[in-house]
């Protein structure tokens, strides 16, 4: 009795907190609204504190689903997605998501549990060297070695993840650090002398670019996801209009410039439109804003923009000159650079002819598909989805043919309506990412466009949309195959369809029903017409299994090793 009394006395005197308390307080300080997490042994102390927390916790049914959901959340909300996974297998299950977020510059804060500090290095139960594993695929990673560091590390992690070129930051929390009690530590300052992103452009280079624009006869802007990360769509539009420069998008940049704008050419790259790829080939001034000259965009570098002076605006200096020699380098935030360029108010060059040439290409070589044959065309599905949602939906895709059709046929007029895995090309990304996108914008109509292959990599997350009643619309473009693999085998491997056809698959409708979600099989345009209006506007989750033409290929296409001008399939 006496002892107990003594204990309670000391408790009230010092008001000690645990590492987990400090961690959650730090998250609250960063205004975190939602955590995508999966509990396990090493994170039990954190989960005990989460039990009383006001922060919404979403339980994916696989850690990989959790981190992809966090990516979708980050892309739409602009805020870092927060993930918790336990040590060992929990931590290794999020590796794909980290690599994906690193490639596509998405801000994430990922907490992994770790075995207690005393046994680190002893191959303890559920131990994995997650720092070693994730060093090349994170912007930065930490292991917390003392309780006092927790508030500072979390603050630094949010700062690193969300500034400069965004990216994932991992924090490894040993179990004893999370459960030990300590006095609340004094506030520590952020201490990152080696991290000072350049935001303001160099004035001299801005002048150089302005002069180059006024001299150019065939200028184009290539706008990437950097425009979206910098929230610079308005500025991009203003600048393009002021200088009358046509705009081309990368896959990830879609939505940065309105697709219905007369200066918009289209998406460039391996499955980009003819006008955009020819625009890049023929231009004499190429202004890259926030794109990284990825190989799927440039094709063979020897043939890329052969006559162009290249200007490149990027917040990451290492991207400038990495793939394409650059004459006018501008290290800056896209928004700041565009604002300064607009202020220059350079004399718009006369290049009406150039714009007319591009418009001629657009008219002559639009995206096309065979509208005569019977059977449901995947392109038609995307067109219908576009018109039925007024082009306002958030479109989240997986990876493959359906991703390209979505990019080609769903024309985005607004920023931050498009979530896709570009750099890493992660199958299984789309459906879980749509969960995060819906949480970031609860009122939006969210379309999770998947193939039948990719969807089967993450079907378990159906439970999450049911549990949270998220009105995600799962659109499966079902061709009973790994479509893009099948297409490449058809074109480059003499139609030897090695393990790319998947005729045995579940009834997706019954699968959805098993989770208590409504589902429909749609085999024709008429059937689609009959139900789309209803289901797309419902506030319930729904699964739509579109049985599309299994032999359809994505065109135009640039074969690997070819230049942008060597497109095939540009005309019926």
């Amino acid at each position: 009795m006496l002892q107990e009394a003594a204990l309670t006395e000391t408790k009230t005197e010092t008001e000690s907190v645990t590492g987990a308390d400090l961690l959650l307080r730090a998250l609250e300080k960063e205004n975190v609204e939602v955590i995508f997490g999966y509990p396990g042994g090493a994170v039990l102390p954190i989960y005990d504190k989460l039990y009383d927390s006001k922060i919404l916790h979403v339980l994916p049914r696989h850690e990989q689903g959790g981190i992809h959901a966090a990516e979708g959340y980050a892309r739409i909300s602009g805020k870092p997605g927060v993930v918790i996974a336990t040590s060992g297998p929990g931590a290794t299950n999020i590796v794909t998501g980290l690599a994906d977020a690193m490639m596509d510059s998405l801000p994430l804060i990922v907490f992994t549990g770790q075995v207690a500090t005393g046994v680190i290095g002893s191959d303890a139960f559920q131990e994995a060297d997650i720092l070693g594993i994730t060093t090349p695929i994170t912007k930065y990673n930490y292991q917390i070695r003392s309780i006092e560091d927790i508030p500072r590390v979390v603050k630094e992690a949010f700062y690193i993840a969300s500034t400069g070129r965004p990216g994932p930051v991992l924090i490894d929390v040993p179990k004893d650090i999370a459960s030990l009690a300590a006095e609340p530590p004094e506030e520590q300052e952020v201490n990152l002398p080696g991290y000072q992103p350049t935001l303001k452009p160099n004035y001299l280079q801005i002048r150089k670019l302005t002069e180059a624009v006024s001299r150019a006869k065939k200028p184009v802007i290539l706008a990437g996801a950097g425009v979206l990360h910098a929230r610079a769509s308005e500025e991009l539009k203003e600048y393009a209009e002021q200088q009358q420069i046509p705009v081309i998008h990368t896959l990830l940049g879609l939505g940065g410039f309105p697709a219905n704008h007369p200066l918009f050419i289209g998406m460039a790259g391996m499955h980009g439109c003819y006008a955009a790829n020819m625009g890049l080939t023929e231009c004499d001034l190429l202004i890259n804003i926030g794109a990284r000259f990825d190989d799927r965009l440039t094709g063979n570098l020897n043939h890329f923009a052969p006559n162009a002076t290249v200007a490149h605006i990027d917040i990451d200096p290492a991207e400038i000159g990495k793939n394409v020699p650059t004459t006018i380098p501008i290290v800056a935030d896209a928004k700041e650079a565009l604002e300064q360029l607009i202020q220059q108010d350079g004399k718009p060059p006369a290049h009406k002819e150039w714009i007319e040439t591009i418009q001629q290409w657009q008219k002559e070589f639009p995206y096309f598909y065979d509208k005569e044959t019977t059977g449901l065309k995947p392109q038609k599905v995307m067109e219908m989805l576009h018109s039925k949602t007024g082009g306002e939906a958030i479109v989240v895709t997986d990876v493959g043919q359906h991703q390209m059709w979505a990019a080609q046929y769903y024309r985005f007029n607004k920023a931050d309506r498009w979530v896709t895995s570009g750099g890493l090309g992660t199958m299984g990304f789309g459906f879980p990412a749509s969960i995060g996108a819906q949480l970031a914008d609860p009122d939006a109509c969210v379309l999770a466009v998947c193939g039948d292959g990719g969807f089967q990599m993450s079907t378990q997350e159906l439970a999450v949309i049911k549990e949270l009643n998220l009105p995600v619309k799962i659109v499966i473009l079902n061709n009973m195959a790994l479509g893009m693999v099948r297409q490449w085998q058809e074109i480059f491997y003499e139609s030897r369809f090695s393990h790319s056809k998947i005729p045995v698959q579940p009834s997706f409708v019954k699968l959805a029903e098993a989770y208590g979600i409504e589902g429909y099989v749609i085999q024709s345009e008429e059937e689609a017409e009959a139900i789309l209006d209803d289901v797309l506007h419902s506030r319930e989750p729904v699964l739509l299994d579109f049985r599309v033409d299994p032999d359809e290929n994505v065109y135009p296409m640039i074969a690997p090793g070819k230049g942008l001008h060597e497109m095939v399939g540009v005309k019926p």
């Binding site: 070693g132 930065y140 070695r145 080696g194 350049t198 160099n202 290290v331």
Partner: protein, 172 residues
């Protein structure tokens, strides 16, 4: 071509792993790397010697290193006037009748003998990589039992020749 790159880094856990990881991730070919404390508390200095194909590749290395959060400063000092030194310890077979011969090689290289035993002696030599290399070649016929090299460590001389054309990669 060979480039000498100097880095100042925060002395934090895992920092060396980050740097070497970057070299393998970006497919850069590294010849030597030497690490030690610097004049500032909490910071270390790393000197890397790398082989690259062209200027663009070395520019990429510099930029990628600079991007690391723990890296404070990166300089490619190859084209500057620099002092570069490497230390090697060589344990060579030395029987009484070869000992004098070996001593006669040591002297012009300003190497020194730091340990002698019945049938071997350990030589310490410092200098630029080429000199160390030349000495090792000379001593090889006597039978090298053990060899340890530190890799080059370097920094710019206090006074730079004014005629020197300095390449600038900075685009900030």
């Amino acid at each position: 071509m060979k480039r000498v790159i100097c880095l100042t880094v925060m002395n934090r856990p895992g920092v060396l792993n980050r740097i070497t990881n970057l070299f393998s991730k970006r497919n850069f070919n590294i010849e030597s790397i030497s690490v030690g404390l610097s004049e500032h508390e909490g910071m270390s200095r790393i000197t890397c010697v790398v082989h690259v194909e062209d200027d663009r590749a070395s520019e990429q290395i510099t930029k990628q290193l600079n991007k690391q959060i723990d890296v404070i400063k990166v300089t490619d000092i190859t084209d500057q006037s620099i002092v570069a030194r490497e230390l090697a310890l060589i344990k060579v077979q030395a029987v009484p009748y070869t000992r004098n011969e070996i001593y006669s090689l040591i002297e012009p290289f300003r190497a020194s003998v730091i340990d002698v035993s019945k049938d071997s002696m350990t030589i310490q030599i410092t200098g630029e990589s080429d000199k160390v290399e030349a000495f090792i070649d000379l001593i090889k016929p006597y039978g090298i039992k053990e060899l340890a090299r530190t890799g080059t460590t370097a920094f710019p001389r206090g006074t730079q020749r004014s005629s020197q054309q300095q390449k600038s990669y900075s685009i900030v």
